[in-house]
Symmetry: C2
């Protein structure tokens, strides 16, 4: 079994209105030192061990289901459990 | 300036229907080894250095704005830039 952590972020060139909203909210609450907020997704999942490469499988899963490759980047960490 | 990465996860005891939906989608696409999908949030932001503790400030910001402390846990990484 592998424990997998996947981090999905918007590409640098893509505007992040959700991040801007959080940024403004933080500033208006008095946290004026906060800037450049970007919001992404974080996923944890388990993958059974097979003969196939877990990296290939995860790349495919991220490209097809978990992310929008046009707008988002991803990276993942794999930990054997 | 600090670069901060914040990871927000649902508490273990809280059901995650979004994770279940992704799990079922992955399984029905043929990735049958995938299980226990949990979906959280990932945030990147920058914080200006001040005399006050950046840890205290981030704890407060997370508790008041970025997370729902009843349902979610968070952790963060701080990197000096």
């Amino acid at each position: 079994m592998y424990n997998v952590k996947i981090y999905v972020t918007l590409k640098k060139s893509v505007l992040d209105p959700q991040g801007d909203a959080v940024n403004e909210a933080a500033n208006s609450m008095g946290y004026t030192g906060v800037s450049d907020v970007r919001i992404g997704k974080y996923m944890e999942l388990q993958v059974e061990k097979t003969d196939a490469s877990v990296h290939d499988m995860l790349d495919e899963l991220c490209d097809k289901l978990l992310t929008n490759p046009v707008m988002e980047d991803y990276r993942y960490e794999i930990e054997e459990a």
